[in-house]
Assembly symmetry: C2
Homo-oligomer: 106 residues x 2
């Protein structure tokens, strides 16, 4: 069992569509928990907080408290490490070309 | 629901530690199913083939038949797309610096 497999909690966290959507929402800027609840009206506050807890334990978000507000920041480092695990520096270049080619043809 | 969430099968495929280890094994070169079975002696052939099927359906491996052998190739494009979903071109640069800094300090 390799050390990299300590990342189980990261992949488990990403396996939920709702949690991926929460991360999408945090991509451009940090959001308070209240803002996230407002953006996901189908989820009650407790469910949003449970998802945020799973994401925080996986180190995919970093929370900072400011007064009564909790600001949730996307932490992209674990996502970079997923990329680097299977795509080395040389392959990254080749895959970038392939991806653009597919986009141009698609 | 965004189009990107059609990727459910990719994240489900990556949520299994064994499937991630199979992808690790394919990183450097394609392998036949027989080679993979030999590399994972704790798994029976049927289990290996089930995992390969999940990975193939998620487009994380591409299989090519040559005579009686099936060669399994890692397809890194979906992994690049995970990266690109949450890490834009500008952020990629900043995160690269942060990652090296953490590695140097660690």
């Amino acid at each position: 069992m390799s050390i990299a497999d300590d990342n189980d909690n990261i992949f488990k966290a990403l396996a939920s569509r709702t949690r991926r959507q929460l991360l999408d929402f945090l991509k451009d800027r940090p959001q308070t928990t209240g803002m996230l609840c407002a953006a996901f009206p189908d989820l009650d506050r407790c469910t949003v907080m449970q998802h945020l807890k799973v994401l925080e334990e996986a180190d995919l978000i970093i929370a900072r408290r400011e007064g009564r507000e909790r600001w949730n920041h996307l932490n992209a480092l674990p996502i970079k490490h997923i990329h680097d695990r299977w795509i080395g520096p040389y392959a990254a270049h080749a895959i970038g070309i392939l991806d653009r080619l597919q986009a141009d043809l698609g």
